[in-house]
């Protein structure tokens, strides 16, 4: 009798034998670390020209993660492709014709992909943090300062969660193209615009990325982020709720619809 470990085994074989896994995950790491390092260099050289208020609330930890707003797009593509190519290639039917346990298959795929995203996410966040701090020099912080380790771990978690969220959305839409066309503009523009305008901010701060990224912040109110009604873990909790909803939606679609 086959079981869940067998499914995990199969999904691991699947995920490690396609090129998109490598390039999306490498892109997520390189883009995040690269852009963060670049901006840290800029912060460092222009620190004294910043307004007094910004100097006071300067958050060196958060500063070393600024590249994640672009790096997360690669994570989103990773999540979408992991699920979406099953549909675009028809592989889902080949898999389901071999093993009809849809729930198990879905859970297995998400587990493997999320664990992989978490490993890459943590590598990204630690690399980004230490490189950023090295660049920031006298404005830097240490990993043993209060809240910093939490923020660095949180950044890795954030990346894994954004990938998982994308997997759920792709499973609901059953199409990579559609999922990417919705998720990328949303996380790149819409969410940030809504959160930037004070009128919509009350609602926008509960969006998955806005709430989730609160965990990377150590100094409250840093980078004009304003006050939030939730703390770092509360914010991550809100993001987890979003992720659960998307995964559940994806599961129900797979369970109910013809493959």
């Amino acid at each position: 009798m086959s079981s869940f470990p067998a499914v995990l085994n199969s999904e691991w074989t699947k995920i490690r034998t396609v090129a998109s896994t490598t390039w999306t995950l490498v892109a997520a790491l390189v883009v995040t670390v690269g852009i963060s390092a670049g901006l840290c260099t800029l912060f460092n050289s222009t620190f004294t020209e910043m307004p007094k208020e910004q100097q006071l609330t300067f958050d060196p930890t958060l500063a070393s993660f600024v590249g994640m707003s672009l790096g997360q797009l690669a994570m989103i593509i990773f999540g979408v492709l992991v699920v979406g190519t099953e549909y675009s290639t028809g592989m889902i039917r080949t898999s389901l014709a071999a093993v009809p346990r849809r729930g198990e298959l879905f859970l297995g795929k998400l587990t493997v992909a999320t664990v992989l995203a978490l490993v890459v996410g943590l590598a990204t966040s630690f690399l980004s943090f230490f490189l950023g701090q090295a660049i920031l020099g006298e404005h830097s912080t240490g990993i043993d300062e209060p809240g910093v380790l939490r923020a660095v771990f949180g950044a890795g978690l954030y990346m894994a969660l954004i990938a998982l969220f994308s997997m759920g959305v792709a499973a609901m839409l059953r199409s990579s193209v559609l999922a990417i066309c919705i998720l990328i503009p949303f996380f790149l523009l819409i969410s940030n615009i809504l959160n930037g305008v004070s009128a919509t901010r009350k609602v926008a701060q509960y969006l998955p990325d806005q709430a989730g990224s609160r965990i990377m912040q150590v100094v409250p109110g840093a980078m004009d982020s304003g006050e939030t009604p939730y703390g770092p873990w509360g914010g991550l909790g809100i993001m987890v709720l979003w992720v659960l909803a998307s995964v559940l939606g994806g599961y129900l679609v797979l369970k109910k619809r013809d493959a």
């Binding site: 085994n9 592989m91 080949t94």
Partner: protein
């Protein structure tokens, strides 16, 4: 053993499969025939639990596929050979499917050998030709060494050698006592491969019988006789003599006669007695393909629309010769060389009408590419 009971699938207003009931028994190759869009693939997807039937049900060894424990060891399927991630290598593709049921890696190399893909096992599937893809799909079906096998158009894209190989593979699998269910729209191929046929059209069951029975029921033989000389004299003498001897005779456009109801030696004797020399006396069988086309004609969904210039090259219809005067004329042979009856003529599209006269009158006003009257 696959058993479908009242299987129905609707996509919106479109009924793809309509009240289909049949059984597929172990130890046989069962052919599943039907024109494009008749619902073969949909039926197979329902058997595999990929699509949910709108009503009715289908079981494999008494259980719905989705409830089968260890499904892959019981059922193997080739549905769509292209349902492969092109970026993955053939071997890793098979491995990922095998691992789902904990099938050992050794088996992957085994099936690669069986389908003859061992040399390209490490190539990416996107570089595969249609035939190689088809072989990879067959390998996937064989992975679990299953008792029940489903193949949706397995010979699609295979070269003659590949077709022969699939044919022998199917027969061998059935001989081992497995249930083998193969779809195709090529009657000729199925006649060679399958020993039982299930024919559908527009999602409905048209025939469910042994291949041999199908052939004897649906194709009739005739003899072609050609009297010596180009004039009508010999032909008329021969025609009259053959009719007297109890044969049924029709004239082909080029002057040859089609004779049914008389054995070849008898025709030869009659001609000899009538003093007519023969240039041709040959046995013919209305092809199975023809019988199949006639059966499914009224249920074909995608017929090509009629060519406005068709009448320019349409052959002269067969004529009842002048010696067949009076009431004898409708006595035409029950063969397959008539144009098919118009759609919906007769209740059972796959059997010849019991009254041959009906067919004769139908043939008179039907062109061979009669378009479908409604859709």
């Amino acid at each position: 053993m696959i058993e479908a009971v009242g299987l129905t699938k609707r996509f919106g207003a479109k009924t793809a499969v309509d009240q289909l009931s049949f059984q597929v028994r172990p130890g046989h190759v069962t052919g599943f025939l039907g024109p494009n869009g008749s619902g073969k693939s949909t039926t197979m997807r329902m058997i595999l639990g990929l699509d949910r039937p709108t009503s009715g049900h289908v079981t494999i060894n008494g259980m719905p596929f989705r409830d089968l424990p260890n499904a892959q060891r019981n059922v193997g399927a080739l549905l769509d050979a292209k349902a492969v991630h092109g970026g993955r290598r053939a071997r890793t593709h098979l491995l990922s499917i095998a691992q789902l049921s904990g099938i050992p890696e050794k088996r992957v190399d085994e099936v690669l050998g069986v389908v003859g893909l061992q040399d390209v096992a490490r190539q990416r599937a996107k570089g595969f030709s249609l035939g190689m893809g088809q072989r990879l799909g067959i390998a996937t079906a064989l992975l679990g060494d299953p008792k029940v096998l489903l193949f949706d158009e397995p010979v699609n894209g295979l070269d003659p050698e590949g077709i022969l190989w699939v044919r022998n593979l199917m027969k061998q699998l059935a001989a081992e006592g497995r249930t083998v269910f193969v779809s195709s729209h090529l009657m000729s191929e199925m006649a060679l491969t399958a020993d039982h046929l299930i024919v559908i059209g527009r999602g409905r069951l048209l025939a469910d019988m042994g291949t041999q029975e199908f052939i004897t029921r649906n194709s009739a033989g005739f003899a072609r006789v050609r009297a010596a000389g180009t004039g009508p004299d010999g032909r008329n003498t021969l025609g009259t003599a053959l009719t007297k001897a109890g044969g049924r005779v029709l004239q082909e456009p080029d002057g040859a006669l089609r004779v049914t109801g008389l054995e070849l030696p008898v025709i030869s004797d009659v001609a000899h007695e009538a003093g007519v020399r023969l240039w041709e006396l040959s046995p013919h069988r209305a092809s199975l393909e023809e019988a199949y086309m006639r059966m499914t004609q009224s249920s074909v969904e995608y017929t090509s629309s009629e060519d406005p210039r068709a009448e320019l090259w349409e052959p002269e219809p067969l004529t009842v010769p002048e010696w067949e005067d009076g009431p004898a004329a409708p006595e035409v042979p029950r063969t397959g060389f008539f144009a098919p009856p118009p759609p919906g003529a007769g209740g059972a599209p796959f059997l010849m009408p019991s009254d041959p006269g009906k067919l004769a009158s139908a043939a008179g006003n039907t062109s061979p590419n009669q378009p479908e009257e409604s859709r």
